[in-house]
C-alpha cells in the first residue's frame, strides 16, 4: 500500500447526505472542467429545493449557476443545444412529475439526436430530478416514473440509494457523452423537512471517483431470497431483511443503482443462488421496472423455487390523504409478508 493510500484508508469518515454529495460532485467537476454548468429553477440563491446545488452560486457565480425562468421547453431544449456545441450542462427540473411540459426536448431530441445523426451529435447532458412520495404531496408531486424514462431509448437513467453512490454516479453522469437522467428520491436527500432515511447518509471520500453505470450492488448478502430494489426501496428491503433474520431467513438485497444500463447479470446471479425473487418498486406496477426485472430473470432461464413476486405502487394516481397514500406505498412490512409467502412456496 502506498503512503497516500494508507492515509486515505485511515482518514476520518465523512458522512454526507445525498444532497451534499451531489453538490460536491458538481463543484469538483466544475473546477476540473470549464464546460460544465448548472441550470434550473431555484438552483442558484436557493441552492435547489432539495439542496443539491447549495454553495455553488457562491463559488461559480451566476453565469455557470443559472436560475432559469419557468420555461422548461426552452431551457431543457437549450441544454441540448449547449451540449451539441461542446458544453456539459447539468439541468435540474425539480420534480419528475413536471416533465410533461417539456417532454419533446427530452425524448425526441436529447435522447435521439445521437442516433439520428449517426453518432455525429452527442448530447452530454445530465437531467437531475426528484422522485417519490409518502409525504402527502399528492399525484402531481410524488411520482417516481422510473419506468417511463427507462422505457425510452437513448437516455441513461441512474437512481442512487446513498451518498457514496450519488457522488460517484454524478461524476460519471457528467462525464458520460450521453444524456443521463439522475433521479434522486426525496426521502433520501437528507433534507430534514422530508424526513431522512438514515441509511442514505454514508461515508463519501473527497476523492474523484466514478460509480460505473450498469453495475448493481449487493447491499446485503443472503442465501434464501433475492430482494431487488432501487433508491428508497433498497432501504425498505434492508429493513425487512433485518426483521427476517428473526424468522431464520437470510435475504439478499440487490440495489440496481442504474436502470439504463441495467445489470441483469448481477440480478440473475443472485436469483440463481437464492432461487427466489421479490422486486420492490415505488413506481407504478404495470409496464414498469418490476415487470422488466422479472422478465429478465425468467428469460435467462434462471431456475426458481417459487413464482417471482413484486411490490409496487398500484395503478392509481398517488392520492393526497395519508390514509389513502401510505397503505398503497411499498413498505418493510409488505416485503416481510411477501418474502414469508415466497418461502412457503405460495403465491
Amino acid at each position: 500500500m502506498t503512503a497516500t493510500a494508507t492515509i486515505r484508508e485511515n482518514r476520518a469518515k465523512r458522512n454526507l447526505t445525498i444532497a451534499k454529495a451531489m453538490a460536491e460532485a458538481l463543484a469538483q467537476e466544475m473546477r476540473r472542467d470549464p464546460s460544465v454548468l448548472v441550470m434550473g429553477e431555484d438552483i442558484a440563491a436557493l441552492g435547489g429545493v432539495f439542496g443539491n446545488t447549495r454553495g455553488l452560486l457562491e463559488e461559480f457565480g451566476p453565469a455557470r449557476i443559472r436560475d432559469t425562468p419557468i420555461s422548461e421547453t426552452a431551457f431543457i431544449g437549450a441544454a441540448v443545444g449547449m451540449a451539441a456545441v461542446g458544453m456539459r450542462p447539468v439541468v435540474e427540473l425539480m420534480f419528475v412529475d413536471f416533465f410533461g411540459v417539456c417532454m419533446d426536448a427530452i425524448y425526441n431530441m436529447a435522447a435521439k439526436n445521437c442516433y439520428f445523426s449517426g453518432g455525429q451529435a452527442n448530447v452530454p447532458m445530465v437531467l437531475m430530478t426528484s422522485v417519490g412520495g409518502g409525504y402527502g404531496d399528492a399525484g402531481q408531486h410524488s411520482q417516481c416514473l422510473y419506468g417511463t424514462f427507462a422505457h425510452l431509448p437513448g437516455m441513461k437513467v441512474v437512481v442512487p440509494s446513498n451518498a457514496y453512490d450519488a457522488k460517484g454516479l454524478m461524476l460519471g453522469a457528467i462525464r458520460d457523452n450521453n444524456p443521463v437522467i439522475f433521479m434522486f428520491h426525496k426521502a433520501l436527500q437528507g433534507m430534514g423537512w422530508l424526513g431522512t432515511v438514515q441509511g442514505s447518509i454514508n461515508d463519501v471520500p473527497e476523492d474523484d471517483y466514478v460509480v460505473p453505470f450498469g453495475q448493481a450492488a449487493i447491499a446485503r448478502a443472503g442465501k434464501d431470497v433475492t430482494i431487488v430494489g432501487l433508491g428508497a426501496t433498497v432501504h425498505l428491503a434492508l429493513d425487512a431483511a433485518q426483521e427476517l433474520i428473526a424468522a431464520g431467513i437470510e435475504a439478499e438485497v440487490v440495489d440496481l443503482r442504474s436502470l439504463v444500463p441495467l445489470d441483469r447479470a448481477t440480478v440473475c446471479a443472485s436469483v440463481t443462488k437464492t432461487g427466489r425473487l421479490l422486486v420492490v418498486d415505488e413506481d407504478y406496477m404495470s409496464y414498469g421496472v418490476s415487470g422488466e426485472i422479472i422478465a429478465s430473470v425468467v428469460e435467462a432461464g434462471t431456475v426458481l423455487k417459487s413464482p417471482p413476486r413484486r411490490i409496487a405502487f398500484p395503478d392509481i394516481p398517488i392520492p393526497f390523504s395519508p390514509t389513502l397514500e401510505r397503505p398503497a406505498l411499498p413498505s418493510a412490512e409488505k416485503i416481510v409478508a411477501a418474502v414469508t409467502a415466497l418461502l412457503r412456496g405460495g403465491r
Binding site: E41, D42, A44, A45, L46, V49, D67, T68, P69, I70, S71, E72, T73, A74, D97, F98, G100, V101, C102, G134, Y135, G136, D137, A138, G139, Q140, H141, G192, W193, L194, G195, P314, D315, I316, P317, P319, F320, S321, P322, T323, L324, E325, P327, A328
Partner: protein, 318 residues
Amino acid sequence: MYETMVKSRAFEERIATAYFEGKSPVFNMANGPIPGEMHLSNGQEPCAVGVCAHLDAADFVTATHRPHHIAIAKGVDLDAMAAEIFGKKTGLSGGRGGHMHLFDARVNFACSGIIAQGMGPAVGAATAFKLRDEKRVAVAFIGEGAANQGAFHESLNLAAVWQAPVVFVIEDNGWGISVAKAQSTAVAHNDNRAASYGMPGHRVTGNDPAAIFAAAGEAIARARAGGGPSLIEIETSRLAGHFIGDAEGYRPAGEKDALFARDPIPALRGKLLGEKMMSEADDLVLVKRAESAVEQAIARARAAPFPAAAEAFDHVFA
C-alpha cells in the same frame, strides 16, 4: 368583497396553525394533520375577489398551486374544501386531491400544481361556451412566473384565434419561488405580451380591490358580449413564503416589512371606514361572521373521518 377577503385570510391563518401541528420540533412535511406542501395566498386576496365578483357558479375558473383565495371567492364549499385539505372522506374529492388539486364541479372550479397548465382548459371551456351560445366565460389565474411557460403563449394565441370568451389573470407577486420577476421575465409587464396575440392587456397596480374589480369587469363583460379574450396583470404581494417552511433568504432585507405595511386587508378596512361605507360595528359583525364560517369549516374537517385505504382505488376511471 371585503368580507370574502377577511374570510380567505382567516381560513389561511387557521390552515397555517393546523399545518404546524405535529411538525415541530423537527419540521417534517409528512407529519401533522395537513401533510405535503402548503402554499398560502395571503396578500393576494384582492385579485381573487375583484375578479370573481363578476362571476357566477356557471362560469369556469382554473386556479394554480396557490388556490385558496380564488376557491373561496368562486364559492367553493368551504366545509368540503377544508375537509379536503385535511385529507378527509368528506372533502371535495374524498381526500384524493388535497390542497393543490381542489375541484368543485358545482361551481365550475378546478386547479393544478403544474405551472400554467390551467390555461389550455380555460380556453377550451370558453370555446365550448361560445359554440353552445352560452353567456358563460372562463377565467384562468396564473402567477407572473407562469407567463414564461409555453402553455401561456400557446393559450393566448389559441384564445385569440378562436375569439374565446376567456380572461387570463396574472397575479404578479414579484417572485417565482426564489426567482425575482426581473431575473426571469424579459419584459417588465406581462400585459404588454397580450398585444403580441392581438388581445387587450391591462395592468392593475396597488393591489387595490376596487381597481381590480373595475378592470376585471370590463374584460369579463367584453368576453360575455362576444368580444374575445383579454389579459390582466395584477400587482399583488405574497405575504407568506412560497410554501410554509420557506425561510425566504433570497428576499432583499426589508422587502417583507414594506409588504406587510401595505397589507390589502387593513388598507381596505381603513378605506371603508374612512369613507363611511362601513362602521366599526359593521366590521365587527362581518369579521365575526367570516371567522365563524371558517372556524366551523375547520372544526368539521377535523372531526370528519379519514377515507378507508380501499377508497384510493375508486374513480381512477369514470
